[in-house]
Amino acid sequence: MRTMVNGIRAIATRLAVGANVIGTTFILLLVVIMNVDVVARGVFHAPLRGTVEVVIFSLVLIVFLQLPNVVQGGRLTRSDGFLLLVQSTRPKVSRLASRVIDAVSCIFMALITWTMWPEFLDAFESCSFFVQPEFGAAPTGSLWGDAVEAWGRCDYFGTPGVFTAPWWPAKLAILFGVGLSTILFFLKALLGTEYGDILPEPESEPSNSQRRHP
């Protein structure tokens, strides 16, 4: 039982760290794209197409790919004066309160995951990958050709003719983020990490100064 929990924990933390790397890359991408756009517009009078859409898309990925790592590192915004106060006088009560809070948070994230699952399915099925779509030609059997066709059918965001992107990868990122956060909260409640403790992760350094506040 213990080994299984530890196994899940190892996988969950690794996923959270991996997702964090992707999310972090998108922040750098955001800085680059915006600057290219400013220069292109200011100097060459030719703004990039679809900057707004790319920014929104990146925001979704940044937030929901980083969220599990934030949860794991105990960096989700909270005001911890009271818990710290209790910790110094009644450490057991403080530890129990922390576990209860993590359990409640787990339930809440599970509710969100529950509502986001059909959202993702709808967005994904709108493409009708590899099945007969409601409108348009039947699959031809050519794997690549069908995939390209299907990609064009997806529910999209953006402005047609300027820039569009299918919704489902963004919905998948949201589902992944809230789902993994549910699991991480569950582990925290189950294993009863000390208040402010983090689930182990390679090279993590929780800095007190930035945990609660922007």
Binding site: L28, V31, M34, V70, L76, R78, G81, S105, H213
Partner: protein, 436 residues
């Protein structure tokens, strides 16, 4: 129970849960979810509200200001820009009693124009200014008080995370909020400097009886240029760009981040590894703030559904509090909440309750934002949860200066903040003038 009663209970429950240490987005989201369920009597509506809040919560172009200004602020701190401004200011205020204090305030004001966080200001200036003031025999309470007091400038002078958060909650333009923050920020800076001057004259025991004149060596022109030009460029691009309308706040954030990176790289204060770590930190901060905002949007929808803002309006109207009365209640409420909650939570909880009322009374929501941010920021300085004070105590790591010293030192500055807040409430033009 009527919807309004459920709404009132929810607000109280949220405040209590946050105080007990529940993650703020969870407290906001879960209580709102349950209230909507109870009020409507159907689960479907609650799930739908939740779905919309999470699915569409972050799909807003101007939210990109948060990661961009955060990355810029972190890079600027790493580049050592804070120390630079402080050195220059210190030279300028050399001959006056309490001069280092004024220099700290001035440097904080300039530093605030390139970072959006009081926490950053508090930790940077605790390391630079407090040891220096102790060296020249200033009263330790005064030293930490000045740093605590002036750290709040970080969140009033744009770019500021709190102004961005307010802009989202109140659906105002981030650019306008930034512009509106400039004059009140400078006013508070001036008020602090005058206060320190008066303290030096009439309350020397607080400043330090035998506080000596500093012996900062004069700066050469090359040093002066090296210390002031990079930050001037940054401020000119970011605030100038927004003010002239040449850059949107999002673009200004991106351009600022790039310039800050160039400065940090040119000074060899950061490498690839440092850049990556800074970006990861930015990611944590962005995800926390945006998830918080997402849940705050669910909360404000819940309030609207329970019609609590409308009822509050009717209630205050019925008892004829008048606008002055309402503002007094509002400020007192924020001061009270400031002893329980952090600044962002106060803004997110209180603003949706009052915004219908302010809008109906024909007052500017931009002005109301500045009032809210300053009012909520007073809580950074007051016990038991003055976060600026905690940061200073933690950064200082000196057993001779207790948390009590920090709070007592900050108290006069919290009082000055309150006075400035009253002036800003009385003269809305101070906030809105620069926009029109």
């Amino acid at each position: 129970m009527t919807p309004v009663e459920i709404g009132i209970i929810s607000v109280i429950a949220i405040v209590a849960l946050i105080y007990m240490g529940v993650y703020i987005p969870v407290a906001l989201g879960l209580v709102s979810f349950v209230s909507i369920w109870i009020i409507s009597g159907k689960s479907i509506l609650a799930f739908n509200f939740l779905k919309v809040a999470v699915g569409d919560g972050v799909t807003e172009y101007s939210f990109a200001t948060i990661p961009l200004f955060t990355v810029m602020g972190l890079l600027v701190s790493k580049a050592g820009v804070g120390t630079d401004i402080y050195t220059v200011m210190n030279r300028g205020f050399k001959k006056i009693t309490g001069g280092i204090g004024m220099a700290t305030v001035g440097a904080n004001a300039v530093f605030a124009a390139v970072t959006g966080s009081s926490i950053a200001s508090a930790s940077v200036f605790t390391k630079i200014a407090v040891p220096e003031m102790q060296r020249y025999r200033y009263n330790p309470r005064f030293a930490v008080g000045v740093v605590a007091g002036s750290s709040v400038l970080g969140m009033i002078i744009p770019p500021s995370a709190m102004l961005i958060i307010y802009a989202f909650v109140a659906e105002q333009s981030v650019g306008e909020m930034f512009m509106a923050g400039i004059v009140p920020g400078l006013l508070l800076t001036a008020a602090y400097i005058v206060t320190i001057m008066l303290m030096g004259k009439f309350w020397p025991s607080f400043v330090g009886e035998d506080a000596g004149e500093t012996d900062t060596p004069p700066l050469t022109y090359a040093e002066l240029a090296d210390k002031t030009l990079p930050i001037s460029l940054l401020i000119a691009v970011v605030l100038g760009g927004i003010y002239t309308g040449w850059l949107t706040p999002v673009e200004a954030g991106a351009a600022g981040a790039l310039i800050a990176l160039v400065i940090a790289l040119a000074r060899r204060k950061i490498g690839l590894k440092g850049l990556w770590e800074t970006t990861i930190d930015t990611g944590y901060i962005t995800a926390s703030i945006l998830f918080l905002i997402t849940m705050a949007s669910l909360y404000s929808r819940m309030l609207g559904y329970a019609d609590l803002p409308g009822e509050l309006h009717a209630f205050l109207d019925h008892y004829q509090f008048g606008f002055l009365g309402i503002m007094i209640i509002y400020v007192l409420l924020m001061l009270f909440l400031g002893t329980l909650l952090d600044t962002a939570s106060i803004i997110l909880i209180v603003v949706p309750l009052f915004i219908t009322l302010i809008e109906a009374s024909g007052h500017s929501l931009v002005w109301f934002g500045i009032v809210t941010v300053i009012g909520a920021e007073i809580g950074l300085l007051t016990p038991p949860l003055g976060i600026s004070c905690f940061v200073i105590k933690a950064t200082l790591n000196d057993p001779n200066i207790t948390l009590k010293d920090v709070f007592l030192g900050a108290l006069p500055f919290a009082f000055v903040m309150l006075l400035v807040l009253i002036v800003i409430i009385r003269f809305p033009v101070l906030s809105t003038g620069i926009i029109q």
